[in-house]
Symmetry: C2
Subunit: 351 residues, 2 copies
C-alpha cells in the first residue's frame, strides 16, 4: 500500500555501502566482481524486494529484450500456432514477445509498426495484412538495421528476410490431387490477389490444369476474403446454375468446411459428387464429416525457423557482412482425407 516503495540498485548500494556500479555488475554476474560481493548484493536485493527496471536498462543499453509480432489475427489457426511457437521459443532466449493483431487493416498495421518501433523492440516479425502492398512503413526498421522478418504473408519486391510456405507447390499439389481423383471441373476459391501467396497458389492451380489439358476458366475462380460468409455466398453463385463443379480447391479450411455445409444443405454428396480440398490443415478438418483433405504448412517448423533467423539477425546485427535478407521456403504436404476419397463417377480411370 505504501507509495514510495520501488527499490533501486541505489538503495542496495547504500544499504551495503557499495557503489551502484558494483551492485549493477554484481547483479549481472560480471566476472570481475568477487563471489563474496555478488552474494551479499543478491541477498540484499532479495531482502529489499528489488525489481529491475527494464525500461531504464533498455534506455541505457538501447535494447529492450523484446520482440514485436504483428499478425492479421490471433484467432486463426495458422497464425495462432505460429505465435505460440515463437513466444515459447523466444522465452528460452530471454526475450519477451509483444503480440499484436492488425485485424487485416492496413492502417492498424502502420500504427502498430510505429508503436513497436517506439517501444524499441529488438526485432519485428510480421505476417502482413491481406491488403498491404506498400511496405514503406517498415523502412524504419530496415534503415535502422533492426532485425525484420516476414513470414507466410510476405512482401513482394521488398528486400527483407522472408520465411514462407511453398504456395505455388501447394496450389499445384492440391489441384493435381483433385485431378487424380477424377475431377474435371475444378473451382478455386482464392484470397484476394493483393496478397502474393494467393497469386502463387492460383498459378499452381493453373499449372496443374494445363498439365492435364484441362481448361482454365475465369468464371471458376473466386477472389475474396476467405470468411465463412463469403464462402457461403460463393456457394450460392456456384450452385445457382448447372453444371456443378466436381472439385473445389479452397485456399483455407474455413472456406472448405463452409462449402461442405452448403453441400449438405443442397444434397450434394461429398466426396461422391464433389471433392473438396482446403488449406492449412486446421484441426477442424478432422472433426467434420467427412474429414477434409487439406494442405499442411508445418506451422511449427515455420515458427522455429522464424525464431532461428531472428536470433541470427540479432547476433550478426553488428557485422556488416551478414546478409540482411533472403528467402526461405517451408515445404507443404497434402493430407488426403475423406472429402477427396474415391473417384468421381463421371471421371476417367484413376491414374
Amino acid at each position: 500500500m505504501s507509495k514510495r516503495t520501488e527499490k533501486t540498485i541505489v538503495d542496495i548500494a547504500e544499504e551495503l555501502k557499495l557503489s551502484v556500479s558494483t551492485v549493477s555488475r554484481a547483479l549481472n554476474d560480471n566476472p570481475n566482481i568477487s563471489a563474496r560481493t555478488k552474494d551479499k548484493v543478491k541477498k540484499m536485493a532479495r531482502k529489499l524486494g528489488y525489481r529491475p527496471n527494464a525500461l531504464a536498462a533498455g534506455l541505457r543499453n538501447n535494447k529492450s529484450k523484446t520482440i514485436g509480432l504483428i499478425v492479421p489475427r490471433i484467432s486463426m489457426f495458422f497464425p495462432a500456432t505460429i505465435s505460440t511457437i515463437i513466444q515459447n521459443k523466444l522465452q528460452e532466449y530471454g526475450y519477451n514477445l509483444i503480440i499484436c493483431q492488425s485485424n487485416d487493416s492496413y492502417d492498424q498495421e502502420v500504427a502498430l509498426v510505429n508503436t513497436l518501433y517506439s517501444a524499441r523492440v529488438d526485432g519485428l516479425v510480421v505476417s502482413t495484412t491481406l491488403y498491404t502492398t506498400d511496405f514503406s512503413h517498415f523502412d524504419v526498421f530496415k534503415d535502422n538495421n533492426i532485425p525484420l522478418i516476414f513470414f507466410d504473408r510476405v512482401p513482394k519486391d521488398y528486400n527483407v528476410k522472408v520465411i514462407k510456405g511453398d504456395d505455388y507447390v501447394g496450389g499445384y499439389t492440391a489441384t493435381t490431387h483433385l485431378i487424380e481423383r477424377g475431377c474435371k471441373d475444378i473451382v478455386h476459391i482464392s484470397g484476394p490477389l493483393t496478397c502474393n501467396l494467393y497469386v502463387e497458389r492460383v498459378s499452381g492451380y493453373k499449372h496443374a490444369l494445363q498439365e492435364n489439358k484441362l481448361p482454365f476458366k475465369k468464371t471458376r475462380v473466386f477472389y475474396q476474403e476467405l470468411t465463412r460468409d463469403n464462402a457461403w455466398q460463393a456457394c450460392e453463385k456456384i450452385f445457382a446454375q448447372t453444371p456443378y463443379p466436381d472439385g473445389i480447391f479452397a485456399s483455407n479450411d474455413t472456406t472448405a468446411i463452409t462449402i461442405m455445409e452448403y453441400c449438405r444443405k443442397i444434397n450434394v454428396r461429398v466426396p461422391e459428387d464433389l471433392k473438396i480440398v482446403g488449406y492449412s490443415n486446421d484441426p477442424r478438418t478432422e472433426i467434420v464429416t467427412p474429414p477434409v483433405t487439406s494442405v499442411d504448412q508445418y506451422p511449427a517448423m515455420m515458427g522455429e525457423r522464424v525464431v532461428a533467423a531472428l536470433m541470427e539477425l540479432i547476433t550478426n546485427q553488428a557485422s556488416a557482412t551478414a546478409p540482411r535478407y533472403s528467402q526461405e521456403i517451408i515445404p507443404i504436404q497434402l493430407i488426403a482425407r475423406e472429402s477427396t476419397a474415391g473417384t468421381v463417377k463421371t471421371g476417367g480411370k484413376k491414374k
Copy 2:
C-alpha cells in the same frame, strides 16, 4: 544503413534553436506552447524522421502505456477471443498489450509475472494456470498498487479484481438441460479441482442432480486436463462396462467433440442413445455432426468488461478511496443443439 541515425528531441531543438523542453511540450501538444512553434517542431520532427523513444518516456513518467496479459494458451478459443477483444479495445485507449502464455505451467506463470513487472506494465490481466493455487507471485502488483485483474480462471481467497463467468449456474444449467431431455445417468467430465471454476461447475452439476432426485456418483465424475487425449481415455473407461450413461456434461468443447467421435466409433448414437453438452460455445460445436449443445460464456462481453475495469483502476490509481477489488460475474447462456435433441428413449416424458 548508417549507424548513428536515431534522431532525438535534442536534434530537433538544436535544428530549431529551441530548448528541448519546448520541443517536448510541442510534441505533446502542451497548451502553453504557441501554435506556430508546435507547427515548426512537428514539421521538423517529420523532416528528421524523429521517432519517440517510449523507453525514455516510460522511465521518466514511470508508466509504459503497456498492459500485460497472461493466458494459459492463445490457441484455445476462449482465451484467444478474449485476447483479441482486449487488444483491440486497449488500442483505442492508446495502450499496447503484451500477450503471454503460461502453457498452463505454474513456473512459467511466475516467470512471466516477474518479467512483466520488470517491463513496468501499467496493468496486468491474468487467467491463471490450471494449477495455480498460490498467488503470492502477484503480490508485487498488489503491493505497488498496479492494476491487476483476473478473468475466467480466477483465484480463490485472494483479494483482487475478478471478472468471471457464472460457472455454478453454467454447471447447473447444462445438467438440468440434460435431465429435462430425459437423461438419468449423467457423467461429468471436469477439469482439475485446483482450478476453482471447475469446482463451481461440479457443484452446479451436483445441485441439479439433487434437485431432480438423481444420485450423485463419484464414479461418474472425471477430473482431468481437458485435452483430446484425456477425453479419449475417459471414454475408454466409461464405455468399458455397462450400463452406458445416457448423458455427458463435458466442461469444454474439445472434450465434448472427442466424445462424439468416440461414440461414432463404437456405434453409440448421439443424441438418441447419449446426449452431450460441452462448454464455451467454441465455433467447432457448430461444424461437427451433430452440432453440440454448449454453454456460451459471452467472451466479447467479458473482454470488454476486463478493459473497462482496467481503465477504471488506472484512472483511480491515485485515489485511495477507490475499491481495489471486487467480483463481477458474466452471465452464461445454454445454446441447445442437436447433440441433446429429442428425449432419451429410456427417459420419462419431457417436462
